[in-house]
């Protein structure tokens, strides 16, 4: 029997005796051994002697085959004139035998056969490709062996296999991380740390690199606190108790993870009652993902009310920014992330604050987009596992951001894993799941039920050895809950012979035996509703001579608490709840916690983030007089994040605490306005005004004017407010306030066509002298709007450049939209389409970093290009608008973009597409002229030869309410023209001619005395200038003339 060994070297034995072969013959045998079966001689020669002429190569092959026959015997080879190979059944090859063993399930046996790389002495393509393939297979084999050993609880074997795996790829970080995780799981900290140091040294000496975040995290886990503690976070930082049961559930989540890793992003929601094992399941998935080199981030909802907006995402983003590579210098999103937390932007190398944005809604959208981009950036070079735990108690804004990210998982290598209790109900979470599914994201809910008695017994045994009777008792009392079985086991193992009835009694019993100071600490942690950081624990004022360490140790001796990366907290939220429930009402503890959190936050400059929490504790402590200022801070922080419902709630709390102070009421009124609650705004304003001191009333009215002018878009009321402010304003009032009132008045007056604009502008300039850059922009914008409102379009051109430059200097992209896009519409209305396009493009350039403002600029550009007949470019612009609107996650923006895209498609002759887009716009209640959009859709349908559908849409159009922004005078000829198109589509040339003629007569009859007013009506009624254009009678008449001629020509052809 011939035996060929190709692993870890190359030897050939015949009947147990080593055979020496000439070099050429050895190479031929190696290749034939790797690839059984006959080989074409020509191909084989060319492969083995690629640099030789064919004849010479064939000769070399012949010589080698002759030498093989001689050395191995005639029977070893099966050769013909055209082929050569090893004779079947005569040769054993070690690599093939290893594969066969693996296929038969003997993984260890297969692994043992690997003694090194395959044929290391050959570097030709055929050999190196085979070596690489074998190496991959062997690596996978070792991974499987390690995983199986771990699952079976043989941690030592798992380390052994993981170690061999690491030797195979000594510089692979993911492999090293998996090894360290297994050292940690086995408690082999010293060996693990030695291995970690060895790897770090090797990486540095060979590649000059430092290990990455995943490795550092795993290494920190080994060097962190001893078993039972560890860093909080997605990479299960504490050594985990083995996972009992849940194999089916784990398989489901791991399958989702596998799909996500391949770029098919998934959403999995794990639901179950408290203590059922959600966190443990998720931790296992996180551990495995981190071990495989993934980026893992974990955040959780806070356990008490009054939570900070976006708290979950601050935690998640904090992990992600620490793990991602530096973003490109020109990326804008890292700075935008600073809105969520300056520390996040700083971690990405951005120290400057993000540019200011006028509206809270824009703040929210920009934060959401920045976080989404962070997730995408994290997923750019490796898979990402994002875990949001306990979303049943997450704040509203965090849930909204979860939904925003979830909708965009498709195509990302991201698994988004959420956990929640089945109670209390949070409909937002169900909506999130349904919404993601409806957008094509693979989303599923996994419900965790009770563990079986056998599984519970295994959990109990992993905690402490118990007698069989005791084991039965703890299993019986647990009722399927792994948490309860752990607590019951701990109670019995702690020497207490009787099992308390329920978790609350268990916690009471555990806390009853500790010294008073430790008990106070545990109570404070329970009241806090989250883990307390070391600084916060120190702030509780419980330290003895040796600091808080002794007290903490005593508290942790109860087995209820643990210290991890997040601080000192209860091991499970249910334990904290039980402890809290036993406390009933504890104002003292709440006040203690408030003081501790406050002092720690002041030291780190993060008072805004904890303000709601501090305020909530002070309220619970009955200290409203102290809570008021904290509610104010909380509201301001929430508003800065664009979390308006939270801001309204916090301002309302401030009002309760400080009923005689008008400031919180005025703030509350403004937030109501941002939320679109006009009646609430007026109510809060009415309640605030009598409380405002006489000397401050002018400022209050000025502020009211600002809200009515911008947020609520009520020009006449705004004008009245500014007028009152100016009347009440003493001459000695600050120049800035006076200028604000005058400019505000002028801007509203410009929109409403009030002739006072010029005088007011002159006032403003006189008051402020040399205006600062921001005010200079306001002055220019008012001038532009004034000219537009008066219809003096020809004067706009020179102001456009000046305004653009001022906007650039002042960093005021919001005014690029208000001023330049309005100017573009005015220029277009005046017939200067090229000038209008230039103004729109300037606006586009100036709003490039503010996507919500970019949208109308893109719409204006698209419309103007379409009007210039540059349809392909128009379609590109409007496609960008659609994509941007979708990304911004605003149904209103998306519907508006559909409307704009529909009109551009209609202009480009893409009728079916136009009809679909306009239908989507109308269904989405876009803030557009609905009669005009329905007419456009009816036109698209008629042009698409769908006259019946067109007629139905036309009917719907005339039944729509009509307002000034709908340009009602233009609707009559438009209706007549669409009737003509429908008649033409039905082949009724006579009716078509009648209606086209009727339309033409109506356009002829029409005078357009004040197009500027139409433009401003659009700005007031629809919230944006008419970026899709005002009606142009001359152009309409030319088009109708063409259509009439075409109908006539068609009729002539038909009759002839």
């Amino acid at each position: 029997m011939l035996r060929v060994r190709v692993l870890g070297g190359y030897t050939v034995e015949r009947d147990g005796v080593t055979v020496a072969l000439p070099a050429g013959a050895a190479r031929v045998l190696a290749l034939l051994a790797l690839r059984p079966g006959p080989h074409d001689r020509e191909a084989l020669a060319a492969r083995l002697w690629p640099d030789s002429p064919p004849a010479a190569a064939r000769a070399s092959l012949r010589t080698a085959v002759w030498a093989l026959r001689k050395a191995l015997g005639e029977e070893a080879l099966a050769a013909s004139r055209s082929t050569v190979g090893l004779a079947p059944g005569t040769v054993r090859v070690d690599a093939a035998e290893a594969k066969a063993l693996a296929a038969a399930g003997d993984l260890a046996g297969a692994a043992e056969m690997y003694r090194g790389d395959l044929l290391p002495q050959y570097d030709e393509d055929w050999a190196s490709a085979a070596a690489a393939e074998y190496r991959r297979e062997h690596a996978a084999l070792l991974d499987r062996l390690a995983a199986e050993a771990e699952t079976s609880g043989d941690l030592a074997a798992a380390i052994g296999w993981a170690h061999r795996r690491a030797e195979l790829d000594p510089l692979d970080e993911a492999v090293q991380v998996a090894l360290l995780q297994r050292f940690a799981a086995a408690g082999a900290r010293a060996a693990g740390l030695a291995s970690a140091r060895s790897y770090a040294d090797r990486l540095h000496s060979e590649l000059g690199f430092a290990p990455g975040p995943a490795f550092r995290a795993a290494s920190a886990e080994l060097s962190g606190p001893p078993a039972g503690t560890g860093a909080r976070g997605g990479v299960a930082a504490r050594p985990l108790r083995p996972l009992f049961g849940r194999s089916a559930e784990l398989a489901v989540v791991m399958a989702a993870w596998s799909a996500a890793r391949r770029g098919q992003g998934r959403l999995v929601l794990v639901t179950g009652e408290g203590g059922i094992g959600k966190t443990r399941l998720v931790a296992e998935v996180a551990r495995r993902a981190a071990g495989a080199g993934a980026c893992v981030a974990v955040g959780a909802g806070v356990d008490i009310g009054g939570g900070t907006p976006l708290a979950v995402w601050h935690e998640l983003a904090g992990t992600l920014v620490a793990a991602v590579p530096a973003p490109p210098p020109d990326a804008g999103w890292p700075a935008e992330l600073g809105r969520l937390g300056p520390d996040l932007a700083a971690a990405l190398g951005r120290r400057e604050p993000p540019p200011p944005v006028a509206a809270p809604e824009l703040e929210r959208l920009r934060i959401f987009d920045a976080v989404l981009r962070l997730v995408e950036w994290a997923a750019a070079d490796r898979p990402v596992l994002v875990v949001a735990e306990d979303v049943h108690r997450a704040d509203r804004a965090s849930l909204a951001l979860c939904a925003h990210v979830a909708r965009r998982l498709t195509g990302l290598p991201v698994l988004f894993l959420l956990t929640r209790r089945d109670r209390p109900a949070r409909p937002e979470v169900d909506a999130l799941l349904a919404d993601a599914s409806s957008r094509g994201v693979d989303a599923e809910e996994l419900e965790l039920g009770p563990l079986s008695d056998g599984e519970l017994a295994a959990v109990a045994r992993s905690v402490a050895p118990l007698a069989d009777d005791d084991l039965d008792r703890v299993v019986a009392v647990a009722e399927g809950s792994p948490l309860l079985v752990v607590e019951a086991t701990r109670t019995l193992a702690g020497g207490r012979g009787t099992l308390p009835a329920g978790l609350r009694a268990t916690v009471r019993a555990a806390l009853g035996s500790v010294p008073p100071t430790a008990r106070v600490l545990a109570e404070a942690v329970a009241v806090a509703g989250r883990a307390l950081t070391p600084a916060e624990v120190a702030g509780l004022g419980l330290a003895g001579a040796a600091g808080t360490a002794d007290v903490e140790a005593q508290a942790m001796d109860t087995g209820l608490l643990q210290r991890d990366g997040a601080g000192l907290g209860f091991r499970h939220a249910l334990l904290a709840e039980a402890a809290r429930a036993d406390l009933d009402h504890s104002p003292r503890r709440h006040e203690q916690v408030a003081a501790a959190v406050e002092s720690a936050a002041k030291a780190t400059g993060t008072t805004g983030r904890v303000a709601a929490e501090v305020a909530g504790h002070l309220r619970a402590a009955g200290r409203d007089e102290l809570a008021g200022p904290w509610w104010r801070r909380a509201a301001a922080y929430a508003r800065g994040l664009g979390a308006l419902p939270d801001a309204a709630e916090f301002w309302a709390e401030a009002v309760q605490c400080e009923p005689a102070d008008p400031a919180p009421r005025l703030e509350l009124a403004e937030v109501h306005a941002w939320l679109g609650r006009r009646a609430d705004f007026e109510s809060a304003w009415a309640a605030a005004l009598p409380l405002v001191a006489e000397s401050d009333r002018a400022a209050a009215w000025c502020r009211r004017g600002g809200v009515l002018r911008s947020v609520l878009c009520h020009p006449s009321a705004a004008l009245a407010a500014y007028r009152t402010a100016l009347e009440l304003m003493p001459v000695s009032s600050p120049a800035a306030l006076r200028a604000e009132a005058v400019l505000g008045f002028a801007q509203v007056a410009a929109v409403t066509g009030d002739p006072e604009v010029g005088a007011r502008l002159a006032d403003a300039v006189r008051i402020v002298g040399e205006p600062d850059p921001a005010m200079a922009v306001d002055v220019l914008t008012v001038r532009l709007l004034h000219l537009v409102g008066l219809g003096r379009f020809a004067e706009l051109g020179p102001l456009v450049e000046e305004t653009a430059e001022a906007i650039r200097l002042a960093h005021r992209p919001d005014q690029a939209f208000a001023g330049l896009v309005s100017a573009a519409c005015g220029l277009a209305a005046g017939g200067d389409l090229v000038g209008a396009l230039h103004a729109a493009d300037l606006a586009l350039e100036l709003t490039a970093d503010v996507e919500v403002l970019t949208l109308p600029c893109l719409a204006a550009r698209a419309h103007l290009l379409a009007r210039l007949g540059r349809h392909p470019e128009a379609l590109v612009a409007v496609t960008a608008q659609l994509a941007l609107a979708e990304r911004l996650d605003s149904p209103a923006f998306a519907a508006l973009a559909c409307n704009d895209a529909g009109l551009v498609a209609l202009a480009a002759g893409r009728y079916a597409e136009a009809a679909d887009l306009l239908r989507a716009a109308l269904a989405g209640s876009a803030p557009v002229s609905r009669p005009a959009s329905r007419l456009a859709r009816a036109e698209a349908l008629a042009q698409d030869r769908r006259p019946d559908e067109a007629a139905a849409e036309l009917r719907a159009a005339v039944l729509e309410p009509v307002g000034p922004a709908d340009q009602p005078a233009t609707l009559v000829p438009r209706v007549a023209r669409v009737e003509g198109l429908i008649a033409r589509a039905r082949g009724d040339a006579a009716e078509a001619t009648r209606r086209f003629t009727e339309a033409a007569e109506a356009w002829e009859r029409m005078r357009r005395p004040r197009p500027g007013e139409e433009l401003m009506a659009s700005l007031v009624d629809l919230g944006r200038p008419p970026v899709v254009g005002l009606a142009e009678p001359a152009w309409e008449l030319a088009r109708l003339a063409g259509e009439l001629a075409a109908v006539k020509e068609g009729s002539c052809r038909a009759s002839s």
Partner: protein
């Protein structure tokens, strides 16, 4: 406030009636007593009664967003005339409600007659427009 309500039917589709109602330039063709009309803006126009060339009456035309009524308000006399259209088979139901200020109560009967006549003429004109012989 004195008021009255009238109803009528046009054997013409809603679009045909709608175009007449929204086109002040064609009011003299069907509105009794209207001599001429000049638009001043999208939603306002000035109407001169028949025989009174020096008596301009600015009007405001708007629709009620809740129920789709077309209301024409006289800015001089404070008379509100609200027209409402609805599909009725293949034709159109036309309702009109007129509100007069107390000071104009003495004109109630005359207004009823004039609006009744206008309603009939509006329906007839719409029907004629559909037949194509306008």
């Amino acid at each position: 406030m004195p008021s009255f309500q009238l109803s009528g039917h046009a054997d013409a589709p809603v679009e045909a009636v709608w175009k007449l109602l929204f086109d002040p330039g064609r009011f003299p063709e069907w509105w009794s007593g209207v001599g001429s009309v000049e638009r001043t803006a999208d939603d306002t126009y000035t109407m001169w009664p028949e025989g009174y060339p020096d008596f301009p009456m600015p009007q405001l035309l708007h629709t009620d967003r809740r129920d789709g009524r077309v209301t024409i308000s006289c800015q001089v006399s404070d008379i509100d005339i609200a027209w409402q259209l609805a599909e009725q088979g293949t034709g159109t139901a036309i309702d009109v409600r007129v509100d007069l200020p107390d000071a104009e109560a003495f004109r109630l009967d005359a207004q009823r007659d004039a609006i009744g006549d206008s309603l009939a003429r509006l329906a007839a004109l719409a029907e004629k427009s559909v037949r194509g012989d306008h």
